[in-house]
Symmetry: D3
Subunit: 201 residues, 6 copies
């Protein structure tokens, strides 16, 4: 079978990209061993590419500390659960892999993608996902009691912003992936499922 | 972490089960290396257990031949896609594993569970899943043109019955799993993802 | 007008059926005065037929006693209400007749089929139907509080299983009837509406 | 069992009603043998009562002739099908009775209330109901092709107005009945099911 | 650009209308400076026209006093919010203008049409609109607690009837406007947005 | 009435903002006469602020030319229609104003916000909005025929990307506005409704 396209739209070659984009992509490749397709599928639009990844990093790469109690693994939980609800194959498969690694849990992503109500999570994480799903699916109904519920679980105002903003950002991301028919890299499917060293090759 | 319950309802011990049920369960254990939780979670109701598995086997274990062109892998595709739509964690995880093995494809189940429209399937399989999803989600709208579409792809009348009946049977199965909060066995998550012999232990 | 087909699929003749199926059908005919079409419409698949009716009887024919407090009339209420929600003509008409007879109430079935919230039922039956409708329509959202509500009305664990399992079984049954365009027998429409002896012929 | 209320709101006594309303109600009682509850449940608001029944009669009592090809039975079909979709018990039960009588068919109302796609109707009536259901459930999507489809079945412009206006009027009527919890008279349930003279009392 | 039709259906000339209808229309024109298109679009059906406006006036023109606490501005709020939910362009634009004038608020209509949960209204008005929206969108689920909530805000039984009946009446009105593709008059768009005397012409 | 908050979250003072953000805001104020609240409501998160407006400008400020045929007014049409569907008050009111100005049409925004199917637009713009709404509301169902429809109307591949990407970006934007309860500036409501010079003050 010939290689399947990674997007409905043109995918530029690495050598033709602006320097800042190319170097970021090479850095990702260096670290991960491959280039996640989202970096390539958006690259024919450099200004949008830069805004997309700047936004992504601002929300997804914050370390816990001070007013920030939301872990990176929990941020990925939000992505996987809302992307499942939006039927976004790229985001569930790619962020499912990142979640497995960050949570050090080989099963949590598959659970969240299908039904977050039945996943092995804490009551605090359940409240987090209830709110994230409401932002993803019916944001117009968000009201004060939704936020009060999160505060009762110890989330800070900064955390609550992050939970909602991540769900909102992936509302964008899921739609881009679905409109481009973005293909997940084969590498993602197995990442984080088997402890390092257990695969014989 | 203590073992999590596999069902909200009582789970009998193997030794307390009727002989026919126990021997079937032991045979499955012998073949798979573990007992899929559905065999235990339904066992406190022997009459229902017998009917459930008799129905399951009649639909899922038919070999291709004569009027039957639907493969066992395709039958599992129907299960995974409709169970994803019904947010049934047990069925997606357990039948996802069986699908990976029967289709000899480590990625197809994750694709179908999230969005069958974006999965690596043939146009014929796409038509099959369009019909199965309609039976699963809005069966009251099924009309003659739905069946004509399947015939145009070479499905026999027997096949069309099977596609619809599998979607209908898992409408039952998904609801049982969700009402019992049936837990997928840990073993299912990795099955069929790594070629035999590649895991070092 | 010529007789309308009772199913889109082949309907075997009684004489061509396996002995066990034929004798069960003859017994039903003896008792009811006619053969409900579901017995014929599923008969071209004997293994599925046997599983279907075994499952049906296990759920619908239990007598009250011990841990079982759910009456046969209440079981039929669940069927009629959930089949109405699934727009299943065969099940509403056929089980509506059985419900009228078992409840000795000529109006309850029509009420439940349209809007169970406005039917002449007890608060306990209302709780039963709230749960059954949730299993029928959004089983993935079932959680512990749903069951606690039923216990508060005096339902046993066995009853709660039965309520959910009946809704789940008719999720299957409704889809089979809709995919086959199964036709209710004319006899059902009037059954249980007029006290015996009041029809002059 | 004490008599159940026919409405959540006050129901005036016949003697306290304005003369025009009382005489209309007495005429209906004379003809039908009982007073349908809708006449009483709306009567505490005489101006609305007059407008409601004037509107009703303008749409439902037109005779076939000239540009009008829509029969009175077909008008009732629209009421029963759209009221079923709106889960309006009063309208399904009361207009179901009228439909059975006007169509001289004891089964058509039960079929239409559950699933008009499976009812014993002509293709022309099917087109009529497809349009009526669209007006009832998603009128904002009505566009020219919807009307063209009706013209192809021989409906006049006047007929098309009537089909849509009846669905629109019962959007009002169904909501009034549901907000008042309007109770169907017991008499309606059996009307039109048994040929006159066949009931021994 | 040629004038666009105000309805898909025939619009009679003023001179051809029955005297009572013509004189009412002329009175409206005298008062408003133009004839709102709904008066013309329904006029080819005089009996329906009379019932429609009689019903409308009975619900929308009641003065506060005695058991009536619902103001005319609040009645228009119900119309704008429910018509927004029903995607009815004519009703949102025309009644938005009336609401701006009656509430003496140039912004309230635009707020309510998009999302009544975010509008500048009192908690009492919020409760009023929660109930009105439930009647508009899922009247079959109305139950006693819905009414109790309104009583707690000081609404009388008469008010509660009016709130529900207005939502019900505009369920009809919205569907008529959508099925006729009724066009709002250009005059409505600016009415009530600029204090009198501030427009230089 | 005291001033209402423009967001649920902290709104920094202009003087406390990073220089690049402050100068952009001052430039907007200079040009528009006021600061649209979105610039302030997002400013407590400078990195997200920068990414948001960079993304926004990349999509909304492209001039027609070469492969780009989508006008700035059409881009705003997409925003208003999809924001209406998402019940986002800030985006409908603010971008409604911009659309009125860019399209030089005082009525188009109100039409699109309520029901784009009834708006005064060209068939090409209708196709554009059909696609944008599908991206906004059910992106997982986007398939090749959706794009083919746009090409048939003369949209370039670049245009098609833009249409979808704008709908996707405002999926994010609408959710941010709803989760923050972002308040539209009073100035927006009247902008573009009255030709310049016609307001006496």
């Amino acid at each position: 079978m010939a290689a399947r396209a990674i997007s409905r739209y043109p995918v530029p070659e690495l050598k033709d990209l602006p320097e800042d984009i190319r170097s970021r992509i090479l850095a990702v490749q260096e670290k991960s061993g491959f280039v996640p397709n989202v970096f390539l599928a958006l690259a024919h639009r450099p200004a949008e590419w830069r805004a997309f990844f700047a936004y992504h990093d601002a929300l997804m790469e914050r370390d816990v500390g001070g007013e920030v109690t939301l872990t990176k693994a929990e941020r990925e939980m939000i992505v996987v659960a809302t992307s499942g609800a939006n039927h976004c194959q790229y985001c569930v498969v790619a962020h499912g892999a990142i979640l497995r690694i960050r949570a050090k849990d080989p099963r949590i992503a598959d659970q969240l993608a299908v039904n977050y109500r039945k996943a092995d999570i804490t009551p605090r994480q359940r409240a987090m996902l209830d709110y994230a799903m409401k932002v993803a699916l019916e944001a117009s109904r968000i009201e004060e009691p939704d936020l009060a519920g999160l505060r009762a679980h110890g989330f800070s105002e900064d955390d609550i912003w992050d939970i909602g903003a991540i769900a909102a950002f992936f509302a964008l991301s899921n739609r881009l992936a679905n409109m481009t028919s973005m293909r997940p890299n084969d590498e993602f499917y197995l990442m984080g499922r088997v402890p390092k060293g257990e695969l014989s090759r």
